[in-house]
């Protein structure tokens, strides 16, 4: 009787102790799928990789649409890994989670589980280093479950697996895991990528604009990509900073189809605790606004009504525009105005897409002007921020055709070969860019003595030179501000007048009158 009582007391004590345990131990054998041990969500499982051929398989059954957060602790001296499987017409390997480091934990923050589906978590050895058994040090596996909200549906590691992203709806995702062993692409080997799919159904032929925004995540240097229906990259955002978001704005969509957004990060960084939030917006296009992609001359936007507003999204970015003049020949004033304290430059390209010049005369926050661009055909303009700079922001670009222009320099005229010919004994010009040099050709039937009456540039300084027929300088005078200087010089039938900037002012012209006598 006493023995029975003692046994009863011992049993009670044992039950109390075992009921108080906050973990369960793995039940070997569980090396095969049909031996898999069922897991309890939120309950720690302790297990051992006891042999070099050992693997422990756990079964997860989803009773509702939910998201599993799978976490396994590290085992000293062992490179542990998780392989996730789905039971569907056989077993499919969903994901291999392995950071190829010894003694380190592995985690996958968001495996999407569909109602009624069975999944397996296989705890095994990683690829790196020789396999080593450990009967003393256990691993601890915990699988937490949360309701599926508007989350990415992992695995979504390639465009075929893309999670549907509905424009105007926010979706969340994780930079988890750090390595995706299934990614065998040589250029992005083992990079974890999250793919999303946006379906655009256009009702008219008028292009629409797409914006994609992604919030930043602590410790993550993220990248955001947009691909077209042909899987070609349309745009990319990478501000190069950890913890800050990315955005792609104003992408012009001209045809219906499936577009893809891809989220990834640099250096195999991971954050299993803080999600990113992703949003896409489709909006109507506006002909006075930039339409991305226009990052190269081939995809230049056409400037309608002489004006366009755009935005530089990061340092080194460039936006290209095409201007189609109404007349065959014209002189145009180009004006770029940044909306904020940004330092942008303007590139000018001819109809053959050959760069003529780059205007970057002013500092941050100031506009860039090219006062008198001569063009005989359509031309291209680019707006860009300094490579490696932080410049980003909005701008307005205006092309103004100048009317009734006579006796005006015809830019480009920066060398003898492009010299503007003086025909009516007078000429006017502008300092068009930093270090501008304007060449004018004087051509008479005989040798003449000429008097040059020069009015300088208000707010600037110039140097005026007169040359022999070959272009070698005979005489030079400086003209300060809007001052007046007269030069007498002989022109041997032919000669050049050269105006150089000493102190730039792009707003006001210089004027030169020439009186000749035999």
């Amino acid at each position: 009787m006493i023995v029975k009582r003692i046994l009863f007391i011992l049993l009670c004590i044992f039950m109390l102790v075992s009921c108080g345990k906050d973990y369960v131990s793995e039940q070997e054998p569980n090396d095969l799928f049909n031996q898999a041990m069922d897991i309890q969500f939120d309950k720690e499982i302790r297990g051992f990789l006891q042999k070099t051929t050992d693997r422990d398989i756990y079964r997860i059954i989803a009773d509702t649409d939910s998201v599993a957060d799978i976490n396994v602790t590290g085992v000293k001296g062992i490179n542990i890994a998780i392989r996730l499987w789905e039971e569907k017409d056989g077993r499919t390997l969903l994901k291999v989670i392995d950071d190829v480091r010894k003694s380190s934990p592995e985690r996958f923050a968001n495996l999407f589980m569909k109602t009624g589906m069975t999944y397996y978590a296989e705890i095994t050895y990683g690829e790196k280093d020789s396999k080593k058994a450990s009967a003393q040090d256990y691993y601890s596996l915990t699988i937490k479950k949360r309701d599926a909200g508007n989350d990415e549906i992992e695995p979504n590691d390639m465009f075929e697996q893309a999670t549907i992203l509905i424009p105007g709806t926010e979706i969340s995702g994780y930079f988890s895991p750090s390595y995706n062993r299934s990614n065998e692409n040589k250029d992005t080997l083992h990079r974890e990528e999250d793919w999303f799919e946006i379906t655009v159904d256009m009702e008219t032929e008028t292009p629409v604009l797409m914006d994609v925004f992604m919030t930043g995540v602590q410790g993550i240097n993220s990248e955001l990509y947009l691909f077209g229906p042909d899987k070609q990259e349309i745009s990319k955002s990478d501000n190069g900073q950890r913890g800050s978001g990315e955005e792609i704005r104003g992408i012009g969509i001209k045809k219906s189809g499936r577009y893809y957004v891809m989220v990834t990060c640099k250096n195999y960084e991971a954050n299993h605790d803080d999600p990113y939030y992703l949003t896409a917006v489709i909006r109507e296009s506006d002909s006075s606004k930039e339409m991305e992609p226009n990052g190269d001359i081939e995809s230049a936007n056409i400037i309608i009504n002489n004006h366009v507003g755009g935005e530089i999204s990061n340092g080194g970015d460039a936006d290209f525009y095409c201007y189609k003049p109404i007349d065959e020949f014209g002189i145009y004033r180009i004006l770029l105005e940044p909306a904020g304290d940004d330092d942008f430059s303007v590139g000018i390209y001819d109809a053959k897409k050959v760069k003529i010049t780059e205007i970057n005369n002013s500092g941050a926050g100031a506009g860039e002007t090219f006062p008198n661009l001569k063009m005989t055909d359509q031309f291209y303009l680019s707006v860009s921020s300094r490579i490696g700079g932080e410049g980003k922001g909005k701008y307005n670009l205006t092309v103004t055709p100048l009317q009734n222009i006579e006796d005006m320099e015809l830019e480009p005229n920066d060398n003898k070969g492009e010299a503007t010919k003086i025909t009516n004994g007078r000429i006017a010009g502008f300092i068009s860019h930093k270090g501008d040099k304007d060449f004018f050709l004087m051509d008479y039937e005989m040798r003449v003595n000429a008097l040059f009456d020069i009015t300088g540039v208000k707010g600037g300084d110039i140097k005026v030179s007169i040359t022999d027929p070959l272009g070698y300088i005979i005489k030079t005078e400086q003209v300060r501000g809007a001052g007046n200087v007269k030069i007498k010089e002989m022109i041997e039938k032919r000669g050049y007048l050269i105006v150089e900037s000493l102190n730039d002012n792009y707003e006001n012209p210089y004027k030169i009158r020439i009186k000749v006598a035999e």
Partner: protein, 154 residues
């Protein structure tokens, strides 16, 4: 008779070269000078002794009359004749020249150093009424200047 024939023949020959006027039985030989038209002084400057192209630089001469800058000759090779024409009142005048040479590297003409300037760099000359004075300046290899003057004839 023989003397008379020789005299007539000589007179005819001279008349070919200059001009002549017949007054009765006497023949008076006269020079036919050009009348000034637009200019009455002409400077011709050159360095005829140069026979090495590497030394034959492009240059011009700046011309000062009575210590005032008057203008310049055209540009040409040093060995070539360079002209400058001007109109001056009849009087005695001081001509000074300044040689400028092409600095090809800097694509501009620069004044030749004083030590290399033609010497002498000046000449006094007279401008008579109704004459065109031609001053020829020849500079030799050593920079020595020779001036010769004539009145332009028809």
């Amino acid at each position: 008779m023989t003397r008379q024939c020789i005299f007539i023949a000589t007179a005819l020959l001279v008349s070919f070269i200059s001009g002549c006027r017949e007054t009765g039985d006497n023949i008076v030989i006269i020079d036919r000078y050009k009348s000034p038209h637009g200019y009455n002084v002409q400077l011709i400057a050159h360095s005829p002794g140069i026979d090495d192209p590497s030394l034959d630089r492009r240059c011009y001469y700046k011309v000062f009359i009575n210590k005032m800058e008057e203008g310049r000759t055209e540009t040409a090779l040093d060995s070539q004749k360079k002209y400058f024409k001007m109109s001056l009142p009849p009087n005695r005048h001081l001509l000074r020249v300044e040689k400028w040479v092409l600095d090809e590297k800097n694509e501009k003409y620069v004044k030749l150093n004083n030590i290399d300037q033609p010497k002498p760099g000046f000449i006094y000359f007279d401008v008579p009424e109704n004459r065109i004075v031609t001053i020829e300046l020849k500079v030799n290899r050593d920079g020595k200047a020779e001036y010769s003057m004539s009145h332009e004839k028809e």
